[in-house]
């Protein structure tokens, strides 16, 4: 059974329909990418999962129907969504943001785990705990958003355009952390990207969306050689 299963999912912003029946699956331990042009429905697909857009169709997490769950309800089932724009709580400190990442976790081990994730993967966060999060650079905010989501120990991590507006070095660092967590701890990731090169390199499988529908799907390796994908999204 896949960890996440969408079949024929539609979504709308008021009167305008953004998804016209998207079907996809994510297995435990996979990194799956969603590619596509602006307005193809990539962000909306993630929002349909996390419950931040009104949606219909079959959405199963671990076999459990989540199509009627609120955003906080989906988060409580273990979905960590780093949204478009990162969702940093800018007026809180860096460390308060981290603590909010662990909001749903209980018990004594949580604090130690926070310390471990920070020192192991994001040493700079450790050093700048008291800084107001809004004063971080774009790249740092994206890293903090990732770290905050990881602290929640999500069963499924969803990243929305993590590379947007970041320097290439920062993007590489970010995907390096994601890949490492996937390999070492089996973290399952669903990532939306405009930058198809990076996305196909980091993922095992990928979906290409066009106007709210899945147009192409396959292993990332195959998609890199796929004629249409290469021309439209990889640029060679």
């Amino acid at each position: 059974m896949p960890l996440l299963e969408l079949s024929d999912v539609t979504a709308r912003y008021g009167p305008s329909q953004a998804l016209h029946g998207v079907s996809l699956t994510v297995d435990e331990g996979e990194v799956v990418a969603i590619l596509g042009a602006n307005g193809a429905g990539k962000t909306t697909t993630l929002r349909a999962v996390s419950g931040t857009v009104s949606r219909a169709g079959r959405l199963l997490l671990d076999g459990k129907d989540i199509s009627r769950r609120s955003a906080e309800g989906v988060a409580r089932l273990g979905v960590g969504h780093v949204p478009e724009g990162r969702g940093i709580l800018t007026e809180l400190t860096v460390w308060e943001n981290m603590r909010m990442g662990a909001y749903l976790r209980r018990g004594r081990a949580v604090r130690a785990d926070l310390e471990r994730i920070a020192s192991e993967h994001f040493p700079w966060i450790d050093r700048r705990r008291g800084q107001q999060a809004g004063t971080l650079s774009g790249g740092e905010q994206q890293m903090l958003a990732l770290a905050r989501a990881l602290v929640g120990r999500p069963r499924l991590l969803m990243l929305d355009e993590p590379s947007l507006g970041l320097a290439p070095m920062v993007v590489q660092e970010l995907f390096r952390v994601v890949r490492r967590l996937n390999e070492e701890e089996g973290l399952t990731v669903l990532v939306v990207e405009q930058n198809a090169n990076i996305a196909l390199e980091a993922s095992t499988r990928a979906y290409v969306l066009e106007v709210g529908r899945v147009a192409v799907e396959g292993s990332s390796e195959d998609l890199r050689r796929h004629e249409g994908v290469r021309r439209s999204y990889l640029g060679y």
């Binding site: 609120s70 603590r99 990442g101």
Partner: protein, 302 residues
């Protein structure tokens, strides 16, 4: 001459302490307003009447149910908290997506409802409200200071400090701040934002109850007892920069001391003029500092 100076100073200190006690009441009700404004962007015009209503409950517990003051005080805080939570869940929540004007009308409706209810249940006449502190003064270096004033200052400041510690040091307090700053990202982290708003209303109502129970022995208990206080509380909140809890408290203390000293030392300022003069000063301050004294400049990189 020496005698005269010493006498003037002791009188001055008495006035300042009295002003601080008044100001602490304005400040704590102002802080209740700030709390709700920060969490839900609503200016709660009913804050004073909710405080008055719960003060009547405290009075009823002591006079009709034989409780002594402090147990009644804490029971009242609990009731006020539940009342605040209930109002948010049952009434305010329905207007989550309504315009500002609609919500303002709703809080004015609450104002009228609580005022009318209090008059209907307990009759609109003025009553004596026996507070926990005697009016007997004690002496510090020749200055006679009222126990009542000091008691009011201590109780309100303690409540405010406890509330601050809750927001600063607890996980729930952090989540409430997060929900106020960024409801959408907070939801994605699993925070039940609606309940955080309700808790905000609960804490504000409880703090308002503190201000009501502290001021009632001074102004007498009646359905209109909080109306002048509410005006000062709004002024305190705005003077402090509407978003700043510290600002509301400092604003309240400044207004309390300022109006008291004006009344005591400026001959033409009689009771009727205290409020107008205080507000003229307030308007002048806001002319030069439009964001209020403690209005924050949010540092943010885009």
């Amino acid at each position: 001459m020496g005698m005269l100076v010493a006498f003037a100073w002791s009188e001055f200190f008495q006035q300042v302490v009295f002003g601080l006690a008044q100001g602490a009441v304005y400040g704590s009700l102002g802080l209740a307003i700030v709390l709700i404004y920060r969490t839900t962007r609503i200016v709660n015009f009913a804050q004073g009447e909710m405080a008055m209503f719960t003060t009547f409950i405290c009075w009823s517990l002591t006079t009709n149910h034989g409780m002594s003051f402090w147990p009644a005080f804490f029971v009242t805080l609990g009731i006020a908290f539940l009342l605040g939570v209930g109002i948010e869940r049952v009434v305010i929540r329905q207007f989550e997506h309504a315009s500002h004007l609609t919500v303002i009308l709703v809080t004015i409706a609450l104002f009228v409802i609580f005022n009318g209810l209090a008059g209907w249940i307990w009759s609109p006449e003025q009553r004596a409200f026996l507070g926990p502190f005697s009016a007997k003064p004690f002496n510090i270096g020749g200055v006679a200071i009222s126990r009542q004033d000091v008691g009011v200052i201590v109780v309100t400041l303690m409540s405010v400090i406890l509330l601050w510690a809750f927001f600063r040091f607890t996980k729930l307090g952090l989540a409430m701040r997060a929900a106020a700053i960024g409801p959408d990202p907070s939801r994605l982290l699993g925070v039940r934002v609606g309940w955080m708003y309700a808790l905000g209303w609960g804490f504000a109502a409880a703090l308002g109850a503190v201000s009501g129970m502290m001021v009632a022995p001074i102004v007498f208990l009646s359905p209109t007892m909080m109306q002048a206080v509410l005006i000062y509380a709004f002024a305190a909140a705005v003077l402090g920069g509407i978003e700043s809890p510290v600002g509301a408290m400092v604003g309240g203390l400044m207004l309390g001391v300022g109006t008291t000293l004006l009344g005591a030392y400026v001959d033409f300022v009689t009771g009727e003029l205290e409020l107008p003069v205080a507000f003229t000063v307030l308007v002048l301050v806001l002319l030069f500092r439009p964001a209020g004294l403690f209005g924050r400049v949010v540092v943010r990189r885009v």
